[in-house]
Structure formats: C-alpha cells, structure tokens
Amino acid sequence: MSKTVTKEISIGDVGARGSEASDKADSSLMALNVGPSHPTTHGVLRLIMELNGDVIEKCEPVIGYLHRGDEKIAENMTYNQFVPYTDRLDYLAPLANNVAYALTVEKLAGVEVPERCEAIRVLICELARISSHLLGMGVFGMDAGAWTPFMYTFTEREKLYTLFEELTGARFTTSFTRIGGVARDIPEGWLDRVKTFCENLPKATDEVEKLLTRNRIFLDRTEGIGAISKEDALAYGLTGPNLRASGVDLDLRKDKPYSGYEKYEFDVPIGTQGDCYDRYLVRIEEVRQSLRIIDQVISDFPSGLWYAEDAKKIFAPPKEKIMTSMEELIQNFMIVTEGPQVPPGEIYFEAENPKGALGFYLVSKGGGVPYRLKIRAPSFCNLSILEKFAPGHMLSDITVILGSLDFVMGECDR
C-alpha cells in the first residue's frame, strides 16, 4: 500500500466492452480490464479496475462466465441424478460437495446412515480438503512468484487423485455419494494406502513451509496485504479459512457437527491479522489437522454396512442383491425411475468445505425431484468482498489477494 508517484496517463476503454465502469471513468485514471481469461483469476473471473498509477482505486468483479444454471437443472431431475452436478461446483474438492449434498437430502428425508458410511464420508471430506488446500497453497505461492512449492504440492495431489480413482473410478469428477449412502464400499487395502499417503504428506508440507513461511520475498508480498477485519469478514458473509484467518472462530465441523465429526479431536486454526499471509497459514495448518482427523478415522474404522439399509425408498440396494432378489429389483426400479422419495418440506444445511460453508437450501413438494434447490456457494460470498478491500492496494497485489482468497469459479457461477 505504499505511495507511488507516477505521471498521469489516460487510456480510455481498454477492452472493457459495454462496461459502465469504463464509460464513467475519470480521465486521470486508467481503466484496466483483467480476465475473464487470465492466469491470476484462477478461472473465468473478470475484474474491471480503475488505476491511479499503480494503485487500485476501484475494483469491480464481474462473474457469471461459468454460469450453467445448476439450480434450474436440479429442479428437473431426481435427487441422485444431481450428484454429478455437485462435482462441478467446487471442482477442486468434489467429494466434499457430494457429501454436503447427500447430507442435505438425507436430513430432509430423515435418513440416518450407519457409522461406517459416516466414517467413509469424513475420510473423503478430509482428503478433499487436503487436495483443495494443496492446490490452493501451491498456486498461491506461484501467484507470489514462487514456483517450487507448487511442484511439491502437485506431486502430493497427484497421489491423492490416484487414491480417489481407486475409490470412485474417477480422478476428478467423483460423484461418490448417493442419497442414503455412498456408491460402493471402500476397496480392499485402500485404507492402508491412504495411511501411507498421510505418513508421507507432512514431509511435503514441511518442504513447502521451508520454502514459503519464512521466505523474505513471500513475506513482503503477503504480510499486511489484503487485510480483512473481523467485522468486514462477518458483514460480507465470508466463511471457511478466509473467515478464520480474520480471527472469527467458526468451523461448522466443530460448531454444528455433522456426519460424526464430533467424535474426532482436532484444532481450528484462527488468524489474527486477516491478511494474505494469515490465510496461507490457516490453510497449511488445516492440512495438518485434517491428517489428525484421518488418522483417528482409520485407527477406529467401523465395520458394518456402508448404506442406510432401512431407507427402502431412498437408496438403491447393491448390485449383487438386485440381481438375485425380486424385492430389491423392484426397489431399484422404483428409485431409478421415480427417484428417492423425499417428503415435502424445506431444509437448509451447510457443510464446512475447503473453500467455506457450502450450503444447500432444498424445498421439496414430495416425490423424487426437488422443487427448488439453492446452492449457497462459499466462493460467491468470498469474492463479494473484493470490491471493498482491494482498493488502496498496488496492482501487483491483486494476484496475491486473489490467490489467497482461494475461490473456484465453477462454484461461484454455478
């Protein structure tokens, strides 16, 4: 936020088609259009900025370039059919989205899943968190000019994707949960491989920390940059690591435990300054805490069924049962054709996802198709504060600020 003395330049409309911002722009300010396709915007975010020399005077995020109408699509298909669409919300942590969506519908339907299913879900949620934060930290380092940490985090993320592939059949678009359970039980020996991964991960995170945490250049670029006060963070509805970095102790896994999170011990890292550096520190600590949770889940992994057996109108039974028993065949047929039968009512559920609180507001009028499904995307809310706190920073800070907010446009635009 240092003062710069530059001579005034006047460039009118720089590629900002149809933007009121550039029409109204003061001639002493420079209008700069960043995105929608630009490496620092991590997707298709567009920023219309007004610069006074190097200092940002105004920064208006323009979103919607990845809008696919997920909420409209949800109103036209059965509950299970929508699971693949949830992959494409926060596509860096699809497993966590799958779980949040399944939990929402199950809450409305009054379905309780067995312990083993809950444990699988906690496990995949935390693995998704690690995978999302690994990418978040890696590209954040890259935004600040450090290439090497990215190599370490991506190597580890690749190992995680191999584990996801073994579990779900897909590396990226997992679609693993079903209403009332998960798609299949965990493969044999998979837990051991997760364990091996978790034993090796701290080496990589330590390496990243060695490269970044006390790195002079990294500190200069992130400390005191993009500070969000506690009050602002709450007023703009920030959630997740971005909110916690500003010093607000809100983690839904602790405060409103779901899927058996209350059984596990872990700490919630809280920042003090709310700047880019704090957001980085919170994420790297969250990775460590996730490892703690995974360790506890695996050490006491429950046996038994991995789906809600008594939810006859919700969960289609496993394939071997469908092939051998008439009753289960009919059950499967009804669920595939009519969808899981959910009673009329409304529900709002939020899960603590890597990016923040992912909420689903579901209105049902009965039957197998939602009447309305609103997706409360954490990235959407986390980006809305940009207009407020980006002005006053140097143009070069915007890459670091965007990197530290760790948003995903797939989720923001839905």
Binding site: G64, N76, M77, G237, V248, K256, G339, E346, Y348, Y361
Partner: protein, 205 residues
Amino acid sequence: MIDDGFIKSLLEKKGSLSRRESIDCLTLDCPADQLKDVVLSFRDDEGFDLLVDLTAIDHGEDAEVRFSVVLHFYSLVHRGYVRLHVLCSDNENPSVPSVSDISPAANWHERETYDMFGIKFTGHPDLKRILMWDEYPYFPLRKEFPLAGIDTPLPAADVVEVTKASVEPAPMMGGPFVSSSDGVMSDSEPRALDESWTEEMEKPS
C-alpha cells in the same frame, strides 16, 4: 442455544413475526415492510451476525402469492440458524426492501435473486444482473422458463453482425435426462426433454 424461551421472547418483542413449522431451524414469516427492522435487530440485538444466504422461491404461476424471498442467518452466539420467509405481495412486479445497507453480504445475493427471479429489491445501490449478462431479457429460475433456454440475441451487436450467432436453446437429446415431480408414474420416468431431434424429426443442422 435457540430454545423455546429465546423464541418466545423474540416473538414477543417482534409482534409482526409469526412462527412456521420446520424440521431444521427456527422459521419465521416476516411482512415485507418489517424486513429491514427485523434484520437490523437480528444483527444488533439477537446476535445473528452472519447473513449466510438470501434467495427466493417461485411458487408457480397459479399460486396466490407467487414469490417469496428466503433469508438464512447464522449466529455465532447461539450456534444456530434462523430462516425468514418474506412474501412478495405483487405477483407481476414483485419487490422487497433491500437489506444490503444493513448487511453487505446481501448485495450480491439480492443481485442474483433479481437476476434469476426478477424480484426488485428497493433501495439496492446497484441492482443489475450478476450471472447472466446485462441485456438478458428473461428470468431463468421462474417456473415457466424452459430448461433448454430460449433463443436470445448475443449481447455484443458487433459480434452478432459478423457471426450471425445467437444463444440457442440447448439440444437436449441424449443430454440431461429429466424427470417431473408430479403426474402419473410413466411421466415421471427420466427422459430427454428435447423435441427438436427425434426419430421422426431430423436433427437440426
């Protein structure tokens, strides 16, 4: 905790609110003209400091009250949610007072709700579309809007002049298989909605 005592005192303080049955959290009906007062006192007096979500429901073209706006608050003090339902009295030109001056989080949510449902938030500083482009003529989440979309001109006139392109309805044959929530069972079977390309009709080029 949000217990019976808290709810009782809240309802006594705010006579205009009425409680609604709900399975997950405290749900209240709020008259539109009282909304700002209620949101302000929620934030300042009751400890609901986080406006987590603001959206709307379209109850259908035939409904007596077609649109209602739904707000969700989270309280760090009570560790719980509160839901507010606000009915929009006018079905043709639905409007609700904006709460974005009280809670900046509402700013983008209200823009999105306007974008998707056409509900006007009076007093909003910059009520324009957020997900669709500014010139888009429809409100896509209204129930009468078709899933495939409607043929719409592209926003940039100079591009249209050269390319003659427009936004076309999505071809849905083999696309998302869709179901409907009512009717006889054979109707609720998932099917492709597209009628532009069947065995009888040729595939559009």
